[in-house]
Symmetry: C2
Subunit: 296 residues, 2 copies
């Protein structure tokens, strides 16, 4: 149940009525700060998220010029949280890697999702259906530029991560390709395109396709990156990639669903079974933390 903390709609019952959320954003839309998580729970989930944010705080120090770093800090830490970064760390630990190895990638994933959220809420003059956030903390030009600065920073965190944690360079390059594809034009951006084109044409939502590139693809990427950085075998990496995909798809579909959709509960239960099936491969290891990601 702790997993629900990372979700925008509270718990699974409420989430089923949150279809409008999917239309607005592939990312959760309610803010949940790390502090809130930490106060409410002392579970390993909260601890993972807190570790990631502590790592990121060091990477984005509040230094001069504040006009540059203050908005970056703000947007990174107030954008809605997802379970993707924590899943990355959990996957790394499951295959035997120390969490330090996964923290730069987890931070990079957090930054990437913060940029997607920020840019999706920019007030462009001809947004077909303006997605006004209640309040823009900064001038939109600054938010646009800040996002543009955060994407390279995410890759920089990864590029610099080989020194202290001794992950070999080839694994880092592989993770970069994974993240680039998950967030880029073949991944998250493609999902956003689809959604944009659909809203323009007032078309029928292909929720599964959007969710596959959105929550599904990002969670698959997070889990695979964690396994790569934890020095997992190819089979472990693929099992965890599949598990992540199912976790993300369940989250996305629940957010996109309406209570009226009778068939959904059954479909989700099927996905849940397949997802847990992927974890059977890790029999004998401690799957307690990672298996909670499915319980949203």
């Amino acid at each position: 149940m702790v997993g629900a903390l990372f979700q925008p709609c509270g718990n699974s019952t409420v989430q089923l009525s949150c279809r409008s959320d999917l239309r607005r954003s592939p990312l959760p839309s309610k803010l949940t700060t790390a502090a809130q998580i930490t106060r409410a729970h002392s579970s390993s989930w909260a601890s993972l998220q807190a570790d990631i944010e502590a790592h990121l705080k060091q990477a984005i120090p509040m230094k001069e010029p504040l006009v540059v770093f203050e908005p970056m800090h703000h947007l990174a830490f107030t954008a809605p949280r997802t379970t993707v970064p924590a899943l990355c760390v959990a996957a790394c630990e499951l295959v035997g890697g120390h969490q330090d190895r996964a923290l730069p990638a987890a931070s990079a994933l957090l930054l990437m999702q913060a940029v997607a959220y920020t840019h999706e809420h920019l007030p462009l003059t001809d947004r077909p259906r303006p997605k006004a956030r209640g309040h823009h903390e900064y001038d939109p030009n600054i938010e646009l530029l800040t996002g543009d600065g955060m994407i390279p920073l995410a890759f920089e965190l990864l590029a610099r991560s080989d020194v202290p944690t001794r992950v070999d360079s080839d694994r880092i390059l592989r993770v970069m390709v994974e993240i680039s594809r998950a967030v880029g034009s073949e991944g998250l951006v493609k999902g956003q395109y689809r959604k944009f084109v659909r809203t323009q044409l007032d078309g029928e939502a292909n929720i599964k396709a959007e969710v596959e590139k959105g929550e599904g693809g990002m969670h698959a990427c997070g889990a695979a990156c964690g396994a790569v950085l934890g020095d997992g075998s190819e089979e472990e990496i693929e099992k965890l990639r599949n598990y992540g995909l199912y976790v993300g798809m369940m989250q996305g579909m629940m957010r996109g669903a309406e209570n009226a959709e009778k068939g959904l509960k059954k479909e989700l239960e099927e996905i849940r079974k397949v997802a847990l099936g992927e974890l059977e491969f890790f029999e004998g290891r401690n799957i307690e933390v990672i298996s909670r990601f499915i319980d949203v």
Copy 2:
């Protein structure tokens, strides 16, 4: 004189009257296509640029879904050209590396500058001084998303570049950090912030500071990356970084200057001397191509 082809204002005399250009954008604002360059000149300059664009064309194939790849293709190849990518390749060759090693980095730099140009011309609702391009080929939402997809692609090109060209992974990671810093919040984005804040406050232009982060920083980065990938020594890398900085600063200052500024010509001549001084280190090698970058 071939270098002038990469410049928006034709030749140095005209450039001196183009101060308004610097106010609009840190990047050249007149479109010069590779085809035009190739038709007009068969020099090694044109050849370098053509090689980079050929490499990039392979990296961004026109494939389905066209809604994703067509805008990416368009924005990458119609954004104003700069001398940064060609300088990267020239620096690689100067230190003895094959140009293949530098092409992914040169392509990444071209993409990064295309994103900066695209995002700088998005019609945000509260741009203090709207920078309307004559015509937006695509819906601004698509242009925003395309840019967001192009930055990860740039890093992906680099991350994948270790296999065929046998550049070692550590050098690629180093180049990623170089590029991230040059385009990110400590570099190009910082220059754009400065300019944005200045235009908001109607402040006095600190052209040198803007140019140092803009054209200067990007050329320094391009030259340093080329030298790193060409397996240059630390001393060679730093000499070429300095040379690139001067080349970029000269270009930016000329574009930002007015004919009335009597002192400028002398200042530029000083920078030119110092820049060529950096190349003395490479005595005995063929500096013909790289030394042309200063003759803009």
